[in-house]
Amino acid sequence: MSLKFLGTIAALGLSATMATAQNYPSKEIQGIIQWGAGGSTDTVMRSVTPHAEAVLGGTVVMQNMTGAVGAIALNHVAGSPADGYTLLMGAENPMLYKIMGLGDKDYSEFVPINILARGTPILVANKDAPFDDYAGMMAHIAANPGELRIGSTGPGGVPSVVTAMMNTVEGKLDVIAVPYDGDGPALTALQSGAIDVMPAVLGAAIEGIRAGAMKPLALFDTQASDKLPDVPAVTSFNEGYATYLPWGPFFGVFVPKGTPDDVVAKLSDAYAKGAEHPDFTSLMDSRGFTMMAISGDEAEAFLTKWQQGTAWLLHDAGLTKASPEEFGIARPGE
């Protein structure tokens, strides 16, 4: 303990700009959350970080920094010193900034500390919709072209990717995409009948489904979830989806590239242990998220694969501003 004291006092005197693992963390760490208070990213980060703090023996002060689909937060952290005192707590969106024309940075400027969990998309419908499953919806679209209103959350959001998948697998669907600024408001609109169908994240829709406020059409995964065993996987309707699944949004903690390796190791260890905490895993499970808790090369590989698949899917659906090729994002399998 006294050593730690001395270290802190020394750090105070020298206004330590050096970061070494021996006394890391010698000051509080800033965690910049890319999305607003109360959202999924916010909830996930605020519930895992206290466990990681306990392992780390330091304090992580979490701040929400919203705006421009998270690009403001990403640029802020990318511009901070790479000393492990500024963490980016984000979701999958930055992987699509480049091709969507939203910015010139993505997670390739960062080192993943931990990719915590992944969500599973699910297609839900208003409870009074004139169809009960995925096949019924397809028949309805064919019979009533241009009438079905499907919720979306802007280019690059989960719904746009799921819709792009549907367009690729089933051929171009004639539907109206009504934009919302998040799946919360969109699911509210689904219940009020302003939209008919919504591709949402399982965790956000699960309570509504259990209460019968909305009906599930298909789970966008290769197999049914044990949370909702009665909802069929979309591959059971069309095998074509198997190419793109499993796919889902994810949450992760990142530091800028150039952060000393021993600091990265310390942080990775803290978040890996934090993510194992039963309170956290049960929370993630009840919200329908799949735990991943990967870091290092495994996480890098995951990010690359995710980016390739999604970027080309969106590009082929004609939803991008620039080709993935321009940014050196290879087509999957090449």
């Binding site: 004291f5 802190t8 750090a11 963390p25 010698s26 002060v61 701040q63």
Partner: protein, 191 residues
């Protein structure tokens, strides 16, 4: 009494927002210039709004901005025209009633504050600002000035930085190490 009269008879700056300042029957110094600047700015914004998405769709991201900037242009043109027709208020001058030296000085202080906030950090900038501002306004001794300025800064800093963990720009002070030091001290004492 003129029902259209909105100003206050002794105070020309509006008692509250529901009764704004200005005069119904006269044009204050600089009022026409202000209206003209607003007109020019509104026209520019209208042009910029047109650039967002043009006339492509009713649902385009530029539809509402275009409509609102058009309203701005029309409304401010009417205002400018009316202001132009009003007689000038002869009892006021720009440098005495609208922009007295003290206000210009404080606007200057604020600009300097904004510029120094990031490089110097919040605490030194705020200390400097409070001390100078209170000294200028109160014209009291240095003891009083420093005591009030630094005392209130400490309170504000504790509320925002420590209690509400707002990460104010740290600048040159090793603020985070300082806080961590006290945290360790507290947790050390507790365990």
């Amino acid at each position: 009494m003129d029902p259209e009269f909105r100003g206050d008879s002794d105070h020309h700056d509006g008692t509250s927002d529901a009764t704004p300042g200005g005069y119904a029957e006269g044009r204050r110094p600089g009022e026409l210039g202000f209206a003209l600047i607003l007109t020019a700015a509104s026209l520019f914004l209208l042009y910029s709004a047109y650039g967002i998405s043009g006339f492509t769709a009713l649902s385009g991201p530029g539809a509402i901005p275009m409509a609102t900037t058009l309203v701005m242009v029309v409304a401010v043109a009417i205002v400018a025209l009316r202001t132009w027709r009003l007689p000038r208020v002869t009892s006021e001058t720009l440098s005495r009633d609208i922009l007295p030296p003290m206000v210009i000085l404080f606007i200057g202080f604020l600009i300097v504050f904004g510029l120094l906030l990031k490089p110097l950090g919040f605490v030194p900038t705020a200390a400097l600002f409070l001390t100078i501002a209170i000294k200028v306004l109160a014209r009291r001794g240095w003891g009083y000035t420093l005591a009030v300025a630094l005392g209130s800064l400490v309170v504000i800093w504790i509320v925002f930085r420590v209690v509400f963990t707002v990460l104010l720009p740290a600048g040159i002070l090793p603020e985070a190490e300082f806080i961590q030091f006290f945290r360790t001290l507290l947790s050390g004492g507790a365990s």
